[in-house]
């Protein structure tokens, strides 16, 4: 499992494209927002949290179809299935790599970009925390969606359609925690629920993803 993780991480870092794509997308979304909303600082402050969360979510979504696609095309996925390593572990490793290359980096990047959107001073910690606790759920749900659509030609659009409704609770709780934090309110409750969601996803979704892979590989 560690080997799969290291291999995928090395591939993601060295092949270019996939790794930077999500981050560049996130960056561009945030930079373009003021042009669309207007340069008014007060207005930007209101939408800052929402834009940062939507940007992170879309950036995670953008890189999902790569999670299994390349391994599926060149047969690596079948080899992995035959290797004796449980498919659940493969799904977990893939989700972990996806999180490290998108979620973790987005979490670090988001507060910096918050400056551009005039995020309220109290909002940086809640934003960072909510992204840190919320993005694992995004990666796992996305990996499940990718496992479901791996055998389908041009599954990218379908993947978005399947995954977006599943993202709703994560987005609501994450953005709510960050928004409450930015407004100076107590934000523990949504944050705890968000952490519960992520832990639940970590516990359950690798099994669902592996079940989907088994069906496709049959």
């Amino acid at each position: 499992m560690i080997a799969v993780l290291r291999r995928d991480l090395a591939l993601a870092l060295r092949s270019g494209g996939g790794f930077g794509l999500g981050l560049a997308f996130f960056f561009v979304v945030v930079v373009l927002t003021p042009f669309a909303v207007g340069p008014d600082q007060g207005k930007l402050q209101i939408v800052a949290v929402g834009i940062l969360w939507i940007g992170a979510l879309l950036a995670a979504l953008l890189t999902l179809d790569r999670v299994f696609a390349l391994d599926w095309e060149d047969g690596t996925l079948e080899q992995l299935a035959l290797s004796g390593l449980p498919l659940e572990s493969v799904v977990m490793a893939k989700a972990a790599v996806h999180w490290i290359t998108t979620g973790a980096v987005l979490t670090v990047l988001a507060p910096a970009l918050g400056v551009l959107l005039n995020l309220a001073p109290g909002g940086y910690w809640p934003l960072g925390l909510s992204l840190l606790l919320g993005t694992p759920a995004l990666s796992l749900i996305g990996t499940f969606g990718a496992a479901l659509t791996v055998g389908i030609k041009r599954g990218g659009l379908l993947l978005s359609l399947l995954v977006l409704p599943l993202y709703v609770p994560t987005l609501i709780l994450g953005a709510e925690a960050a928004r409450r934090g930015a407004a100076g309110l107590a934000y523990e409750t949504p944050l705890i629920l968000l952490a519960a969601l992520s832990l639940g996803a970590i516990a359950a979704l690798p099994f669902a993803g592996a079940a989907a892979l088994k069906v496709t590989l049959r």
């Binding site: 399947l162 409704p165 709703v168 609770p169 709780l173 969601l197 979704l205 669902a208 989907a212």
Partner: protein, 243 residues
């Protein structure tokens, strides 16, 4: 004889063929009765005027939209556990009907909301949950359509239905957490046994709900029968090509 015998495709075609006229009759009869009763033989509401009458379409369609999803969940579960093909086909057949019911509920709600709340749409928990339900139906149907191997599609959509149901419930509570509602409470509080709607309105509403239930059942069975026939046809064509 166990209950599973009815799920044998041949037995399924047999008993549904006999039961369908009755179910159709009940569905159409009760729906027409409920709607005509509700529209022409009940008075206008004191505050809402005649717009109250949209309840006879809105509540039954919303009821069947949710129960349709529940039916999909149960049918998918039976497919995953017992691998009855008819079960997978029923889940497939129910999805577009459930989606239609969801759209009817959303549309009638918007038409009622415009004069009553002064807006076509608000981000109220119930409305939002229904919009998300609509997305779930669309994703489910799209997954069925995009996989050509029927058994593979049945497996994948069943897994989606399992995970989707969990997230649908999660979304419902997350949405309540996110925004407080404008939508009134339930018209039919089953748990408490009380009535929030007067009997004059409630009886035609109950008739209409029963009518929608049988309509949904009839439509699902017709679609499932069509699927069974399509499969048989596919087998015949393949056999022809082999010979």
């Amino acid at each position: 004889m166990s209950i599973w015998e009815y799920a044998n495709p041949r037995a399924f075609m047999g008993w549904t063929g006999k039961a369908l006229p009755l179910i159709w009759g009940l569905g159409i009869g009760l729906t027409v009765l409920g709607l005509v009763w509700g529209y022409f033989f009940t008075g206008d509401d004191f505050r809402m005027g005649s717009t109250v009458k949209i309840i006879y379409l809105h509540v039954p369609s919303a009821l069947m939209a949710i129960n349709g999803y529940f039916l999909m969940f149960v049918a998918s579960l039976i497919w995953l556990i017992r691998r009855h093909h008819v079960s997978a086909l029923v889940a497939k057949a129910a999805a577009p009907i459930g989606l239609t019911m969801t759209l009817i509920a959303l549309a009638t709600g918007a038409i009622w909301g415009q004069p009553m709340w002064g807006t076509w749409w608000v981000w109220d928990p119930r409305l939002t949950s229904f919009l998300i339900l609509c997305l779930f139906y669309m994703g489910y149907i799209a997954l069925w359509e995009s996989v050509s191997d029927q058994d593979l599609a049945a497996d994948l959509t069943s897994i989606l239905a399992m995970v989707g149901s969990v997230f649908a419930v999660l979304s419902r509570y997350a949405v309540q957490f996110w925004n407080q509602g404008l939508h009134q409470g339930t018209s039919v509080p089953v748990v408490t046994g009380e009535r929030s709607v007067d009997d004059i309105y409630f009886i035609p509403l109950a008739v209409s709900m029963a009518g929608f239930f049988f309509l949904f059942l009839a439509l699902t069975l017709v679609r499932a029968r069509a699927e069974v026939r399509a499969r048989r046809l596919g087998v015949l064509i393949r056999r022809e090509q082999m010979a």
